[in-house]
Symmetry: C2
């Protein structure tokens, strides 16, 4: 945790340091990040750095809280078209939020991607709860709910599908952002909202249809197998 000295810093200086750190952590994972690069970019002495943070991992975890705060902000900024979203509308919202986040804060999205990648690497088990860690726990609950609501097919292996949605959520955002091209800059500039633009929504429609209805033209679901 950052020291109180850091918390008491004038905002401009604090932002300067955080900005330098974000730039560094967006380019390199924690393992390869350099204190020297950060302090020189932020324009502070190295001694000051160690008055603010215990070490570079300390700063990194501080930046991670900023990342999740900003991400939550983006999620909540998306309009709720219904008080009660059905299952797939909710999923669409989650995916839209990921893309919006990627476009508005590409550096923060990069940091998040590094973090996901490296925390998924080892056993990928939460040492406290013993459960799988990461976004798929959220999707697990989501799918279970969906089955209860008769939205999700009962034969779906919830655990596997949750994992799949997790990696799709984490991976599709940079692709979609790139694909949006010029439009992405408009969204980043606030001139356009992701939910208002019909070409963007067409893309999401297609993505959601793939998730809902699959790729096959004429799916041969082996109902017999699953009903036994």
């Amino acid at each position: 945790m950052p020291t109180e000295t850091f918390r008491n810093l004038p905002e401009s200086k604090r932002l300067q340091i955080e900005h330098a750190a974000i730039t560094e952590f967006a380019a390199k994972p924690l393992q390869s990040a350099s204190v020297n690069a950060i302090v020189s970019q932020a324009g502070i002495a190295k001694g000051s750095f160690y008055q603010y943070f215990e070490n570079i991992a300390d700063l990194h975890s501080h930046i991670l809280t900023i990342v999740s705060k900003k991400k939550l902000e983006v999620i909540n900024s998306l309009p709720l078209d219904n008080a009660n979203l059905d299952t797939f509308r909710y999923l669409r919202r989650v995916l839209q939020a990921a893309v919006e986040f990627q476009i508005r804060y590409p550096e923060l999205a990069s940091i998040e991607r590094f973090e996901r990648f490296y925390s998924d690497q080892p056993g990928s088990i939460d040492p406290e709860t013993g459960e799988r860690v990461g976004g798929d726990r959220r999707f697990h609950a989501f799918l279970t709910q969906g089955i209860l609501h008769d939205d999700i097919a009962t034969w779906v292996d919830v655990d596997m599908a949750a994992f799949m949605l997790g990696i799709v959520e984490g991976g599709i955002a940079p692709y979609l952002a790139e694909r949006l091209g010029e439009r992405a800059s408009q969204i980043a500039a606030g001139e356009l909202s992701i939910v208002d633009d019909s070409p963007i929504q067409d893309l999401f429609d297609n993505l959601m249809d793939i998730l809902e209805a699959g790729l096959a033209r004429d799916p041969q679901i082996r109902k017999d197998f699953y009903s036994k």
Copy 2:
């Protein structure tokens, strides 16, 4: 490219060096990998290292060729149940190969994952061809063929679906390997083949059904939209 000196090395020594390098590159990306760690693990002098390789990137690219060679080996080791696989059988084969590779050569799979992650990071555009790089080009052709064969729905956005399959292929293997638990060790030991074990195939059935038929219990495909 490794020097001729390296190519002329007695096999045991060459393997020793490659093994040390594989261990290092499976744990850290190229950026963070250390020459010192490799030479000390391989039991050679640092001077020797620089007689074999120009630098660490040179060794890394050499290891990458081993990775893809071994991966190809795994792919070809899977039995061809049909000379002409239909679209989804082919896809199943690709995914099975990814899992088999993950189980038999977890270190090589880790190296591959690092490589995919870092080469996807920047623009993710091949500077020579101008096309998207990575496994999704293969899936692009695969989906196009599938549409021609009436296996894949015509409304599917081929480019996006190809990207999605790419990230699923890259991400699902560690999950499935972990989920197979004890069985995975048997496969790694060669006591069991991935295609012969019915619990494993059940998992693949479910995965393929999700890809083919989607998650929804009663998909509401907007045919009107796509036909216009």
